[in-house]
């Protein structure tokens, strides 16, 4: 009698397991990921209630967030995290524009110096009197560049 109950119980639990549709779980998990813009590059596939994550995110935090978000989805037993972390290439266009806008004022008293701006780096060419160099450097350092490359001839 006990054995039969056990078999019945097992049979029912197997039956209830089979009711879990991987495709439904996958759909839910993918929706959870899509809700977060930082995780939009992640793809989830679910097989036997095991979720596998692939795709690209910008940082480790997003990779971990994707894993915990999917782990919390109902009927996900475990998560295999194959997400790749690829930091975005920095965009310096705004910084370059800001530096260029302020550069004319900074360079006004230094007519013999040419300054070029690229990727946040100010490159100086031309010549300058030694005593004027600290003044120029202080002005340029105040513009918040990424780096200042001094190729000046100091007289």
């Amino acid at each position: 009698m006990t054995a039969i109950t056990l078999i019945l119980a097992l049979g029912m639990s197997v039956a209830s397991c089979k009711k879990v549709n991987d495709a439904d779980v996958q759909k839910t998990a993918q929706e959870v990921l899509m809700a977060d813009p930082a995780l939009a590059g992640v793809v989830v596939t679910v097989q036997e209630q095991v979720a596998t994550l692939t795709g690209i995110v910008e940082d480790e935090a997003a990779k971990a967030a994707a894993e915990s978000a999917v782990a919390a989805v109902e009927n996900v037993k475990s998560v295999v995290n194959h997400i790749e972390v690829v930091p975005p290439a920095p965009d310096y266009s705004e910084l370059d524009a800001a530096i260029n806008a302020a550069l004319a004022d900074a360079m006004k008293d230094h007519a013999t110096v040419t300054a070029a701006v690229e990727n946040g780096v100010i490159t100086l060419t031309g010549e300058i009197r030694e005593r004027d160099l600290p003044t120029l450097m202080q002005k340029l350092n105040a513009l918040n560049p990424v780096q200042i490359v001094n190729n000046l001839t100091v007289k």
Partner: protein
């Protein structure tokens, strides 16, 4: 030599003044506000001594001396008089001049690079902030 080693003296002074020191990457960044112009000058003197003629391209020193609006600032041009302009920019008309060493009043520093000042004649306008230093 590591940047932190090379510029230890500069970093120590920066830390003593609670400045932000970031030595990540190939450029050492020091940012913040120090209590006086003399500390700022001292930092630049140290920087220049450790890296003569600023040739190594491995430091960004963006240090401002604390100054309050309504306070006094000194004109620190090298020899010439300082232009006071109608607006913040060298393209703006000159409305007055301040002598080297003259002490004038800071009205507003809402523009980081161009401060609004009032000179001894009561003339108001904008001066390039790098040529002004707070008077203690």
């Amino acid at each position: 030599m590591a940047l932190t080693e090379k510029y230890k003296e500069l970093i120590d002074l920066a830390r003593a003044n609670n400045l932000l020191v970031n030595d990540a990457g190939k450029v050492l960044k020091i940012d913040g506000t120090v209590p006086s112009a003399s500390i700022k000058d001292k930092m630049w003197d140290i920087y220049q001594r450790l890296d003569p003629q600023f040739r190594s391209n491995d430091v960004l020193l963006n240090v401002k001396a604390a100054v309050t609006e309504g306070g006094k600032v000194r004109v620190v041009t090298r020899e010439s008089r300082l232009n006071i302009r109608k607006g913040p920019g060298t393209d703006q008309p000159i409305v007055g001049k301040a002598e080297k060493g003259e002490i004038i009043t800071l009205i507003s520093k809402s523009n980081d690079l161009w401060w609004l000042v009032r000179d001894v004649d009561g003339e108001e306008g904008y001066c390039y902030a790098q040529y002004l230093e707070p008077v203690q």
